[in-house]
């Protein structure tokens, strides 16, 4: 390619990519930078002006037990979702990888839980798990599994676990399809050769599927971590962070601080701190994946 041609190509590329980049810059990058500025000021109500206060907000937030509690809850939230979500997704993907009547339909419609609005997901489960009426409690009581209706959102632990289940229920099909993609990438003749050599299904899984799937799972674990960390609407709509703050993860705390507590700069500070941790995690994780040759 000659210099002139590559220059023309470059201009064309810039022209084609410009509208998308402009929108991303205006709606994502610029507000992200503004959040950093906000965290160095003392702004209380959205849109108002504030004085420059340097690192005062950071000192305040880092000394606040509420911040550390939310950080611990977020960590627990991400880990619990990673375990449940990945386990369900892996099982579903392995099943969808088999041939059975209707597998094509199943592959399409498994994402049903992901295509409905979260507010509907919330409504569905609030009804199903309700203590007055609902579906699960009458079943538990009439089959004798429980003596009286179970309060799925009554205690801090129960509310947290119910939320993890509902969030994983919504997201596991999406992850399952990604795992399925990794599975279809494994050459079929490897399995065939192993079968000829007399390897059973379990051996084939342990020796071929699992090692070859591990890189995909690692990448998905990173994506899944970012996705679940960001979950706000399910928690907010179901428990509002309660009972007793037991489900107030960092996104919930940010929202409350900005729009309920009218301490915008403090919210921006928490947001910037979360972003730093998340980005560090993403960079470190992808780098270690790349080093182990799993990038691709």
């Amino acid at each position: 390619m000659t210099g002139a041609a590559s220059g023309r190509q470059g201009r064309l590329a810039a022209l084609l990519a410009a509208p998308a980049l402009l929108l991303l810059g205006a709606v994502l990058a610029w507000p992200l930078l503004s959040a950093v500025l906000l965290s160095l000021q003392d702004v209380r109500i959205v849109g108002s002006q504030g004085a420059f206060v340097g690192s005062a907000n950071y000192e305040k937030v880092l000394a606040d037990p509420a911040f550390w509690r939310a950080a611990r809850l977020s960590l627990g939230w991400v880990l619990a979702n990673a375990v449940l979500q990945t386990a369900l997704a892996l099982a579903a993907a392995l099943i969808l990888h088999q041939g059975f009547p209707g597998v094509r339909v199943a592959r399409t419609w498994i994402v049903l839980t992901w295509i409905v609005p979260t507010v509907v997901v919330v409504m569905i489960w609030r009804w199903l798990l309700s203590t007055s009426g609902g579906m699960i409690n009458p079943l538990l009581v009439s089959t004798g599994l429980a003596e009286r209706p179970v309060g799925f959102f009554a205690t801090p632990e129960a509310a947290f676990m119910s939320l993890v289940f509902i969030n994983s229920w919504r997201w596991f099909p999406f992850i399952a399809l990604m795992i399925l993609a990794g599975l279809t990438r494994i050459p079929a003749d490897l399995h065939e050769a192993a079968r000829v050599d007399g390897a059973g299904p379990w051996q084939r899984f342990a020796r071929i599927t699992w090692p070859l799937l591990a890189p995909t799972l690692a990448v998905l674990l990173v994506i899944g971590t970012l996705l679940s960390f960001n979950v706000f609407d399910i928690i907010w709509l179901l428990t509002g962070g309660g009972p007793a703050g037991s489900t107030r993860t960092l996104p919930v705390l940010i929202y409350e601080t900005a729009f309920r507590g009218y301490r915008v700069s403090e919210a921006a500070t928490i947001a910037v701190l979360s972003t730093l941790v998340l980005m560090a995690f993403a960079v470190l994780a992808t780098r270690s994946l790349a080093l182990s040759g799993a990038d691709r």
Partner: protein, 273 residues
């Protein structure tokens, strides 16, 4: 396949069909049951009654119809804008060599590495200055921005599959790059466009946080926010809420029935390449 293995597979299929299907079955059938049956002590699997009273009340007593229309409008516009911006960008990233494109591409994917709630506060202030707060356009811009990185990434695989010779031949025939893109390449990546369309539509259709903060007027509310209000207002009128849930599921299910196959292909192909 041994008998035990087959049994395990069957059990797994039943488990997932129940896990995903049963809640939806109960919700949709429940919306047609009379109130006494909905709150019956022993839940019925097959409905014993049929009524449209919940739908009547929902559509007459609340602004549900308006919310539904707003959501359809916002989701359709977001989908269109995402396609309009993502296709040229993906073409630039994956079919044209230029300096710094790898860096730029990596930067774009960073869009998912920070909590989206971070941009909510500054964005509200910016939109307020531009007079965009309380407009549906604001939601379209936000939804498109959040769908774009994934859309561009998804189109990558489809562009990569086109042999360079096809494009080369078309260009030698005298077409400028944009005409080649429009006439030759777009039809070849149709499934990719379908996949991106679904992703953009679903993201916009389900978005709650930004819609709840950026829209102030009730008549401009989208379905997730409006329905959340209805849920708060009609706490235990389960029939009405089930009808609302069913109507909210319907449009995406219809869209998915039409081009859902493409979405799954797009997702899996995208991850392969």
């Amino acid at each position: 396949m041994t008998a035990a293995w087959r049994l395990l597979l069957g059990a797994g299929i039943v488990f997932f069909v129940l896990l995903i299907g049963l809640p939806f079955w109960w919700v949709v059938t429940g919306s047609f049951k009379v109130p006494q049956e909905i709150i019956a002590r022993t839940p019925t699997f097959i409905p014993r009654s049929f009524t449209l009273q919940h739908y009547d009340l929902l559509l007459s007593a609340s602004a549900y119809g308006t919310y539904l229309l707003n959501s359809l409008l916002v989701a359709a516009a977001s989908t269109l804008l995402t396609l309009l911006l993502a296709v040229p960008a993906a073409y630039a990233f994956f079919r044209i060599e230029f300096r710094g494109r790898a860096t730029l591409y990596r930067l774009i994917l960073l869009a998912y590495a920070f909590p989206s709630i971070v941009v909510l506060v500054p964005l509200f202030a910016t939109f307020a200055r531009l007079g965009l707060v309380d407009t549906r356009l604001a939601l379209v811009l936000v939804n498109t921005a959040f769908a774009l990185p994934f859309a561009i990434w998804m189109l990558r695989a489809f562009f990569a599959q086109i042999p360079p010779e096809i494009e080369e031949a078309a260009r030698l025939d005298g077409g400028p790059p944009l005409v080649v893109l429009w006439r030759i390449l777009l039809p070849l990546i149709a499934p990719g466009l379908g996949a991106v369309a679904i992703f953009a539509f679903v993201s916009a259709w389900t978005e709650y946080v930004f819609a709840s903060v950026l829209i102030l007027t009730d008549a401009l509310r989208t379905l997730p926010v409006g329905f959340a209000g209805i849920i708060g207002q009609y706490q235990v009128n389960w029939g009405l809420l089930l009808a609302g849930a069913t109507l909210a599921i319907l449009p995406v299910v219809a869209l998915f029935a039409l081009i859902g196959r493409w979405f799954v292909t797009g997702l899996t192909e995208g991850a392969v390449k």
